[in-house]
Amino acid sequence: MQHANDDHTAQRAEPSALSQALPIVMGYLPVGFAYGVLAVKAGLSLANTGLMSILVYAGSAQLIAVDMIGAGAPASSVIATAFIVNLRHVLFSAALSPFLASWPVRRIARFCFEMTDETFALHATRFHNRQLSARKTLAINLLAHTGWIVGGIAGAVAGGFVPDVKPLGLDYALPAMFAVLLVGQLLSPAHILAAALGGSLALIISQTDASAYATLAGAVIAAATAAFTPWTSKRSS
């Protein structure tokens, strides 16, 4: 159990779980709030609104689901859509698996329950920097998830009264975090190519009928190209 905290190889002290989770929480509160408002408008009870944030915990899938429920879509198509929209998590789970292999199964199961775009991006960077503390990892996940749940319930309670969060610039919190994490990921030509291609392809796919697959397909094609293009094959890791 203790080995995960033996983090002697880190060059710099790792920031606290709270300060690392804060950009995620600041981004999740307003987006969660918007989800809560839309959920009660679509006819979800307060309990179901909160329960979806607790059990599903996937922003875009939840927003799409309440939209579909409000429009009278059948349960089966709401569930199928959630599956497609969240399929990209297969990639996240596989990519982080080498760092989790020494964890007990129950802890892996708990960690993966709170895997989102944002927590994946943060942990991928942390793990790469040998910041492997299980305690900190799970604390970050719990803080982020709490922010998402609190935002959703606050939105559901506030109902139609929607204060404008834009003047505070809070809707930029998640893009900002992606930007900081991306800068930390640009370690080799292969990484830079993967990022540039991933961004370009996701934008192109987002403009097609397959937009639900934009992140997944864009990232898969970009990573495959970057990993197996001859000129990037001279890699340090």
Partner: protein, 107 residues
């Protein structure tokens, strides 16, 4: 939909969301990963981050927003520059937030 059906829908959504999140990690926790896959997955984080950043900055309600009055575009340039120079985490995020707030207060 009545609340009972919504509850069942939520449980279904939870299952189809959790399985893709957990199955690959558990699968590779108990057996070695092929070298080809390991190499591919090692560049997945920058590919995903590129995809997420591009979409969060350059899409507005699903449509491309490629113009010089896109506040997120300039804020991201500032955030990236600060992240690169300071190696910090929260400072660059906060600077970007302030930039966006200021931008919206002025324009």
């Amino acid at each position: 939909m009545d609340q009972q059906t919504i509850l069942l829908t939520i449980l279904g959504m939870a299952a189809v969301t959790y399985l893709p999140r957990v199955v690959p990690a558990l699968f590779f926790a108990s057996r070695p990963m092929p070298e080809v896959l390991r190499r591919f997955l090692s560049v997945v984080p920058p590919a995903v981050l590129g995809a997420l950043l591009a979409q969060s900055v350059l899409l507005e309600k699903g449509a491309l927003h490629l113009s010089l009055d896109n506040a997120f575009l300039w804020a991201s340039a500032l955030t990236c520059l600060l992240a690169w120079r300071t190696k910090g985490f929260f400072g660059p995020v906060l600077a970007g937030l302030c930039f966006v707030a200021l931008w919206r207060a002025i324009f």
